[in-house]
Amino acid sequence: MSVPPSGRVADESELTAGTRIEEGRRYGFFTDTTLCIGCKACEVACKEWNTLPADHVGLTGDSYDNTGALSATTWRHVAFVEQLGHDGDRPTTMPPWQSQWLMMSDVCKHCANAGCLDACPTGALFRTEFDTVVVQQDVCNGCGYCVPACPFGVVDLNEHDGKAHKCTLCYDRLKGGLEPACAKACPTDSIQFGELDDLHARARRRVDRLRAGGRSDAYLYGAPDGEGQPSPGATGGIGALNCFFLLTARPEVYNLPAAPSLPRTRIRPGLLHGLGTMAAIAAAALLAFATDRAG
């Protein structure tokens, strides 16, 4: 394909990710942690495209993870897990595949049923035509309720501008037919952008291949497992994670909950029990005030 005189390639995502971006279809990321080399190109590409400032310039002491966590100004976070020995013991032998590094580029999961979106009282958080979840900066008033609502600790308030921020799955790029910045920058295709059904099929094939090759511990986090059962991460009413992961250790190792639940499932029982109590109290009060008058 030749580059048109305008310099803009229509549907560039078709060239770079093999996916045409169209409204009304569901898009997400498949992050294959077995391919991650911890280069943090995704973090840099995200910061550059979204003009996010640097934060925490320093060393944490937690392996090569000097980013720490997802935040209002960090929308990709590469986790580093060094699995060497147990309880501080250094190993004397190495397993046959030598490396016991686990690396994972974490990101907003763009949940099928999103706790942040449920919680937002202003409508700033909304679901886009690409089935992603985005905060409208011109609506958010910084009430902060989405922050503890998120089951994965993703969305965060920026103290400087007083708004909630998180990954937009490069909403502006999708609008222009471009693959999200992190996926495009990933040199090993650990981060794969695409249409969800396509990604699920690709991810299942990858798990099968890894298992056939001896990695019996490979599994998907946040994707339907094909038998109608929710996989880890997609539990408790969350349904599915549009950004899902291939992991080789239990979710907690990567700082992911095994069986999170959707916060809104607690509204109905809470209101019923609370209002039931108030009804009983009101009845008791009526009795007390009425008998008092009589006496």
Binding site: A69, Y145, V155, A288, R293
Partner: protein, 310 residues
Amino acid sequence: MDRLAARPPSYVGPTYYDRPVVKRPTYRWLIAGYFFVGGLAGAAGLLATVADLARADRRLVRAGRYVAAAGALASPALLVADLHTRWRWYNMLRIFRLTSPMSIGSWTLAAFGATSTAAAAAERVGAVRVARAAGIPAAALGAVMSVYTAVLASATSVPLWAAAPRVLPPLFGASATSTALAALTLATSTRNGAPARSALGRLGMAVSALELALAFALRRTLRQRGVGDALLHGPLARVHEVGAIGIGTLVPLGVHAATVLTGRPARRASLAAALATLVGGFVLRVTLVFGGRRSAERPREYFQLTQDAR
């Protein structure tokens, strides 16, 4: 042995450098203050209308309406002050979303503010029928006001708040009622005669007993689910035990019991009991808000809560 058995079944698996999994809520004193004031005002609105329907002393009804309106006017100030982009406060009324207790609460507070203020104003000018008409919706909205803040906390991923969605709202409701009764006791006792003192006293005793039982039910649930350690052990737990449970429920219960036993109502003692109830109700909200912040920082509590989907 019992103590050992009662220790939480804490998560013992791996964590990621003990880093938090979920983000800590930003809520602090202003929100704890609103949980207290909004609940108190809501319950006062409910009690005023119940007293009105029971044809209780008019001074009691009037005091209830005034307390409800005052709390309903103070509440938005606390909430707007806590926003990080305050001048956009009106976006709270931009949509109505049933999946968001914050949205439910914003509309409830707006409607409660309108109806309770109308009822208080009508009461002030002696338009009893108007006050009654506005008081009925204010009572229903007041009941929601006194419990929804606990639902709001439960519908998050904060382990301490999310662990007991069936206990926290009744506890907030009981505490809202006991603090409202205390406020009414103080408001009506300053006048001669102290109308409906015995009704307020008996009702206060029952509600404080309920609050005490629910406070222990919360502790039991937290232990069973292995979360909310900040409310069970350590300095914040001491503040909760002494302030919310001791001062907030045991002191007023003791005073009420002494009044019943001696057979003569002691004015000073009942005022002291009312003050203790108010202090305890505030401490309850403060320790729950700050305890929630602590529990969100602890990955083991969240991993414990999310071992099995519920």
